[in-house]
């Protein structure tokens, strides 16, 4: 956890809360039905968020200035490898989130698992094929065959493939 990161997070929170407070002011009202209206509660929460995140932001900035003044440096955290893999994992998750509608559940979840294992440094080919396949079968049985959950089938050729199974 770095001080710079803390300043950024509290600053973003402060700014977003400010914008949302402005948005809340534009909520439609039904004064005859409810005098306090739909904006009352969100505005109360946002006001508190603005006050708390603002004070946190100021506290962190003052702490940062003091460190600069006294020449104290933050201890770097040795997590480069983790950060690289984390970005890859998050990007893969987002890609999966958007592609499952087109590729269908079965193929997408299988590929997602293979690629995720590769990101986590699993290299044995047999493991890369068998583990995702077994888990996909388990998920298929639980969610499609037992719970009848309507999972995405994909489009085009992927739809044809999915229809072979569900």
């Amino acid at each position: 956890m770095s001080l710079k990161g803390d300043i950024v997070i509290s600053g973003i929170t402060f700014a977003v809360a400010g914008i949302l407070f402005y948005v809340a002011r534009t909520f439609p009202q039904l004064k005859f039905a409810d005098r306090v209206g739909p904006a009352f509660w969100p505005k109360t929460i946002l006001f508190t968020v603005i006050v708390l995140s603002g004070s946190l932001f100021l506290k962190n900035v003052i702490m940062g200035l003091r460190r600069e003044k006294f020449g104290q440096e933050e201890v770097p955290v040795p997590e480069k490898e983790g950060a690289k893999r984390l970005i890859m994992a998050i990007v893969l998750s987002i890609i999966y989130g958007f592609s499952v509608t087109y590729g269908g559940f079965l193929l997408s979840i299988f590929l997602f698992q293979v690629l995720f294992l590769l990101i986590l440094k699993v290299k044995r080919l047999l493991v890369l094929a068998l583990f995702p396949l077994s888990l996909t079968v388990i998920l298929y049985i639980i969610f499609i065959k037992v719970l009848y959950i309507p999972l995405p089938r994909g489009v085009g050729i992927f739809l044809t493939f999915s229809r072979l199974f569900y």
Binding site: M1, G5, D6, I9, T13, L20, V23, A24, F27, Q29, L30, A33, D34, R35, V36, G37, P38, A39, W41, P42, I45, L46, V49, L52, S55, L56, E79, E81, G82, R85, L86, A89, S93, I94, Y96, G97, F98, V100, T101, I109, F112, Q113, F116, L117, L120, K121, V122, F131, P132, L135, T136, L139, I142, F143, V146, L147, I149, P150, L151, P152
Partner: protein, 509 residues
């Protein structure tokens, strides 16, 4: 009441319900015995599976998973000095030294027996206290519910993080997310930004799966632990363990200490936001305080395992009291359970114990059954749970993410999965910057209750806020909330002042 209790056991012992309890307990013990996975993650991952179950089966599954996980945490705590769940943190202090002395079997047997005693005591307390509290809560109006919700949230926020301000902010984020969608009183849209997806609000299940389960995977990856090899040496050495129980002669002098731990655990569990981990710490501390030989603690005494294990398992039963009798969850896991109730069309609270009495007593019986079951499961399958730790994390990580992705989709809406990944990223950022996730989940689930109660109370009292806040019970609960919220801030300031004085003294010297 006796009739209700017997009816509860009758339902819990029906074949399908019994199978669900066995499954929940097994999964709970497995999750608890695996460091990094706990009952909140398990409950979040298993909610989607309950879609196909009856309401009573769904709650039985989650309640038995909870009981199993609280016990399971002690297995790696005793064998490897790594608590499987935070509840078992105090068990490491005497459990691991016993393992080093070659008494791992006895430590595990003591822990198992203590968990059974504590768990059954907690369920007995739940069975007696919940109906009484529910009867009292029948007199509560909207203003009291508003104050209760605030108390639940502040209690968790004040204890949920090293930084009280960040924990309060986290709770506020949850309350804010709960305002997305249609207003609960007049039905007007808020924060929907012209989309139809947001009109339905933030769906709780994908959010909670993302915040607890998927975010934890990202956390492990960022720390580089997801691809580091697990040292199996210690685990392999423990594969031949045979569980042995302490003798009556050893247990007899500990009867009062055990009773104190059980009572304290139950009371701490009932308090919103405090939970089983604090119960274990208090249980252990009182055992040291009242012991004739306090110097033995920390060196491998069975009393050091009995006290925290009885307390944390009793607290698990206690934690269900505010959920079932008031409809206010006091911890992250019970907040997830509240979501499961709502998903199955049930509303926990005083009316549940009046209108759905058989269901409530089936849950009590199911929890008692889960405690007896984990006793046998722990006794017979300890080697299996030790071996679980040897599964490389990449497989666990992929399993969690795949389950999360499909589970978030299980309401038949693809946007649920996208929301799950968004909340996973948010949860990861929050954890990284020390914003506890649990207050946010509680805020998300309590938000609609708090807002609707406050606005209804204002309507009833003709928009006189002073009249709402000064109703006797409301005022008492709100004062308690302020005390709960201010206590950690006071202690933090006092500590800082103390350390400042220390620095001055040092520099002066």
């Amino acid at each position: 009441m006796l009739q209700d209790i017997l009816a509860g056991y009758h339902y819990a012992f029906q074949v399908d319900n019994f199978i669900v309890v066995v499954l929940g307990t097994l999964v709970g013990v497995a999750l608890g015995s695996f460091p990094g996975l706990d009952c909140s993650i398990g409950a979040a991952l298993f909610i989607p599976i309950t879609y196909g179950m009856t309401p009573s089966q769904a709650i039985l599954l989650l309640a038995s998973l909870y009981s199993g996980a609280v016990y399971g945490g002690q297995i790696p705590a005793i064998l490897f000095r790594v608590p499987g769940a935070s509840e078992a943190v105090m068990t490491t202090l005497d459990g691991y030294p016993m393992t080093l002395k070659g008494k791992a079997g006895k430590a595990l047997g003591t822990g198992l027996l203590s968990s059974l005693v504590g768990g059954l005591f907690g369920v007995a307390g739940l069975t007696l206290v919940a109906p009484l509290l529910a009867n009292a809560a029948l007199m509560f109006g909207p203003s009291e519910y508003f104050a209760l919700g605030i108390l639940g949230l502040t209690a968790l926020a004040s204890l949920g993080s090293r930084s009280p301000i960040k924990a309060i902010l986290s709770g506020l984020f949850g309350l804010l997310f709960a305002t997305v969608g249609l207003d609960p009183i007049v039905g007007l849209p808020r924060f929907v930004f012209g989309t139809t997806v947001l009109k339905g609000g933030i769906t709780f299940i994908p959010a909670v799966i993302g915040l607890f389960a998927a975010a934890e995977v990202y956390n492990q990856i960022s720390r580089g632990q997801a691809f580091s090899r697990i040292d199996n040496g210690a685990a392999n050495k423990q594969n031949r363990i045979r569980i042995t129980f302490p003798t009556l002669k050893e247990l007899k002098p500990l009867k009062w200490s055990s009773l104190r731990s059980a009572l304290l655990g139950l009371i701490v569990g009932i308090l919103p936001g405090v939970g089983a981990t604090t119960a274990a710490i208090i249980g252990y501390s009182q055992a040291v305080q009242f012991s004739k030989e306090p110097e033995k603690f920390g060196k491998g005494t069975i009393e050091g395992i009995i006290a925290p294990e009885i307390a944390n398992n009793a607290a698990a039963g206690g934690a269900m009291v505010p959920l079932l009798s008031l409809g206010i969850p006091g911890s992250a896991t019970t907040a997830i359970m509240l979501a499961a109730f709502l998903m199955h069309g049930l509303r926990p609270g005083p009316l549940l114990l009046v209108q759905q009495r058989p269901l409530a007593f089936t849950i009590f019986a199911g929890m008692a059954l889960a405690n007896v079951l984990f006793f046998f499961i722990g006794f017979l399958a300890i080697r299996f749970f030790i071996r679980l730790r040897q599964i490389p994390y990449p497989f666990i990580a992929v399993g969690i993410l795949a389950f999360s992705a499909v589970g978030a989709n299980a309401m038949g809406d693809i946007s649920g999965m996208k929301m799950m990944f968004l909340f996973a990223i948010l949860g990861f950022i929050m954890e990284k910057y020390n914003y506890a996730v649990a207050p946010m989940v509680l805020g998300l689930v309590l938000g609609p209750i708090i807002e609707a109660s406050l606005r209804r109370a204002l309507m009833i009292h003709e928009y006189d806020l002073f009249a709402v806040l000064t109703r006797p019970i409301t005022a008492m609960l709100l004062i308690l909330s302020i005390v709960v919220l201010m206590t950690p801030i006071y202690w933090a300031l006092k500590k800082r002042k103390g350390s400042g004085l220390g620095e001055k003294t040092d520099s002066h010297l």
